[in-house]
């Protein structure tokens, strides 16, 4: 069933510096018609699996969180089964998480079929996340308009590869539309400048 696709072609993303318009390149790929071919094609297109290191890292994080949870729960007092105290249930839950993390550490040591490797494109997510945080920090200080404009512009121009002109135009339009809907029409109390 395994149509011999080239072994995971390294994702040929446009270099992150200049994403450029990356629309509709998919049309060149031969149309897979049967479900089996389609499944195989999806499999080939899928990003690389996270692998063993990621498994180790995530298991250790869970183990650490589970351990911390158990310690904090003990601090709250466990009580007895007949008269459980506040810490009993969180302790049990943390114990399950920690135990499962140990199992996963062993079972998934060679990677597994889940997760995805970080790629150069993951920086886009980091930048996107940073703009979201910036927006949350700035909104109470200077209102939502300027941070929203910035967010739209960054996402459209650099994360989305729009041209300067359309990025500016659409950012302004979006912010105006949000102002019209959330402030003018719905009368919400979102912090605003104007």
């Amino acid at each position: 069933m395994q149509a011999k696709h080239a072994e995971h072609p390294p994702v040929t993303a446009a270099s992150p510096a200049d994403p450029g318009p990356v629309q509709s390149e998919n049309d060149e790929s031969p149309e897979a018609l049967t479900p089996e071919e389609l499944a195989a094609q999806w499999e080939a297109e899928a990003p690389e699996r996270a692998g063993g290191v990621a498994n180790l890292a995530s298991s250790l994080v869970v183990l650490g969180l589970g351990g911390a949870g158990m310690a904090l729960s003990v601090g709250l007092g466990l009580g007895t089964p007949a008269a459980p105290s506040a810490g009993m249930w969180p302790f049990i839950v943390s114990l399950i998480a920690a135990a499962m993390a140990v199992v996963q550490l062993i079972v998934g040591r060679r990677g597994g079929k889940d997760g995805e490797k970080f790629s150069a494109m993951s920086w886009y997510t980091v930048i996107g996340f940073a703009t979201l945080i910036l927006m949350v920090v700035l909104m109470p200080l200077i209102g939502f308009e300027i941070p929203a404009l910035l967010l739209c512009f960054v996402w459209m121009r650099w994360l989305g590869g729009e041209r300067w002109r359309s990025a500016v135009l659409y950012s302004v339009l979006v912010v105006v539309a949000f102002y019209a809907i959330f402030i003018a029409a719905l009368g919400t109390t979102i912090p605003r400048l104007f």
Partner: protein, 509 residues
């Protein structure tokens, strides 16, 4: 008339013009957001949760039903036109739907999906109307031990049936249960894990978690996936299927309705399993199975009918037992709780107007979906043509500003963004957010029932096994927990014996 009286009264509630308007609004907005690539029904409902605030409970729930159906159908549209299934339950729709679209029959595929969804949904609601009171009356004498066992089983089923690593799903569920304990303990009044933060004293709200994990998480993930460029959507012409198409698909729709209804009642991904089962069934019963994958209309009609029927019947465990069967239901459960409605066996008897209002709003949602989907297809296709680069910041802003409007709290918005990062990382490391959200929703119910049972049973856990219902549920729980191991052992054994057989055959040859 005892039984039908409240049912009919429910229609009165739903047909109120305001409610109808909200339902319509829900369907349209649900479709608008659901059609955005990468946002499935769970994400769509999560993002739109703030919309249902500040509206009457019944109206809000009717709107939710509209959003739910709209979001479901939005996934179908992207499957057919872009070969991008919005969610697991419309993956099989891609096989024949996209091929049909390539052949210039996109309209027929979308039309038959809408008709099938309508019929499957309606049949499932009729079934629900009769079955729900039965299940609820059975569950009326459930005590704390039964609820403990039921909630445990529900969480485990959702964790193990979801795709991907089961161990990781259980870890996610445990994290969800832990997050549910944050805040003041209802029994002792002790502050748990608040670290002196006043905003955490009342516990973490469900909405920021759902909006963050499903909404912002998906949005952040899509930023990275953007370069997997999407081809332009295919053209759509004459949406109403021809008479012969409907005739050809009618068998598939009938079978899909029944199959979907029964599979949907079972906890754990009902819609996905039923769409797969329906596709397999149609292929098996077809006179010429080779047509499948080449644009067979039954391959669209069957699964689309089945997944909608299942999505509807999965309301049964939610409304009668208070146990959501999948991640989408978990979000609806959370939304109901926010409206002050606690789904459970008492709901039908205590608040029949509300219960039947909810059920009947599904009829309306379904009808509106059928009516709206056909003229609006053109609009959705146009939305699909808008570049993702422009849509992404819009959805992000809707989510952030929406999150703020819930309680006028920047802390909530911060939580949404933080859980968005958690959701993204979970996805990258192979953890499903579904079990986490479900476990979080059930967390306080599970804990309080467990602690009450322990008090009743005087700390003796074996007491769970002396009560027939909780004992049965726990036996099923253990079976579900152990079954994957047994199954893999059997598979290994089978593979080995097959390998031996193959070797023998080779030697003989």
């Amino acid at each position: 008339m005892d039984f039908f009286g409240p049912v009919l009264d429910g229609f009165g509630t739903v047909l109120d013009p305001t409610n109808l308007l909200y339902c319509l609004l829900g369907v349209v907005i649900g479709m608008l957001i659901g059609v955005l690539p990468g946002l499935g029904p769970a994400a769509t409902i999560a993002i739109l949760l703030p919309l249902t605030y500040g509206v009457e409970p019944v109206t809000a729930i009717i709107m939710l039903a509209g959003i739910f159906y709209g979001a479901q159908y939005g996934g179908t549209i992207t499957s057919v036109l872009l070969r991008l299934p919005g969610e697991a339950s419309s993956v099989v729709t891609v096989f024949d739907g996209y091929v049909m679209a390539k052949q210039g029959r996109a309209g027929t595929a979308l039309g038959i999906a809408a008709i099938g969804s309508f019929i499957g949904g309606t049949i499932a609601i009729v079934g629900l109307t009769f079955l729900a009171p039965l299940v609820a009356s059975f569950a009326l004498d459930f005590g704390p031990p039964e609820y403990t066992a039921l909630a445990l089983l529900g969480i485990l089923l959702v964790a193990t049936i979801s795709g991907g690593s089961k161990i990781k799903a259980i870890i996610a569920a445990a994290v969800g249960l832990f997050l549910a304990t944050v805040g003041r303990d209802g029994f002792t009044g002790a502050e748990r894990f608040t670290f002196g933060n006043l905003s955490l004293a009342d516990g973490i709200d469900f909405v920021p978690i759902a909006m963050g994990l499903f909404g912002v998480g998906e949005i952040l993930y899509n930023l990275e996936e953007r370069h997997r460029a999407v081809s332009a959507p295919l053209k759509v012409a004459n949406v109403w299927p021809a008479g012969k198409d409907i005739k050809q698909a009618s068998g598939a729709i009938g079978r899909g309705s029944v199959l979907g209804f029964f599979l949907g009642i079972l906890p754990g991904g009902g819609a996905t399993i039923s769409s797969l089962a329906s596709y397999a069934l149609e292929k098996k019963t077809a006179k010429d199975p080779s047509r499948f994958g080449k644009g067979a209309i039954e391959g669209v009609a069957g699964p689309e009918t089945a997944n909608n029927a299942a999505a509807t019947s999965s309301f049964i465990p939610l409304l009668t037992l208070g146990i959501p069967a999948n991640a989408t239901m978990a979000i609806i459960f959370g939304a109901l709780l926010i409206q002050g409605v606690t789904p459970g066996p008492q709901l039908i008897s205590n608040d029949p107007e509300l219960f039947w209002g909810v059920v009947n709003s599904m009829y309306i949602g379904n009808i509106l979906l059928l009516i709206m989907s056909i003229p609006l297809i053109g609009v959705f296709v146009r939305i699909l043509r808008i570049r993702a680069a422009i849509l992404a910041p819009i959805t992000a802003l809707i989510t952030l500003l929406g999150a703020y409007t819930i309680r006028n709290s920047m802390f909530d918005v911060m939580l949404v963004v933080m859980f968005g990062a958690v959701g993204y990382l979970m996805k990258k490391f192979g953890f499903e957010p579904g079990p986490l959200v479900l476990a979080f929703v059930l967390g306080s119910l599970l804990e309080s029932n467990l602690r009450r049972s322990l008090l009743v049973l005087e700390g003796d856990p074996s007491g769970f096994l002396t009560r027939p219902i909780s004992a049965t549920l726990l036996v099923v729980f253990v079976f579900v927990a152990v079954w994957p191991m047994i199954k893999s052992a059997i598979d290994q054994h089978k593979n080995r014996s097959m390998a031996v057989q193959a070797v023998n055959e080779k030697e003989n040859a």
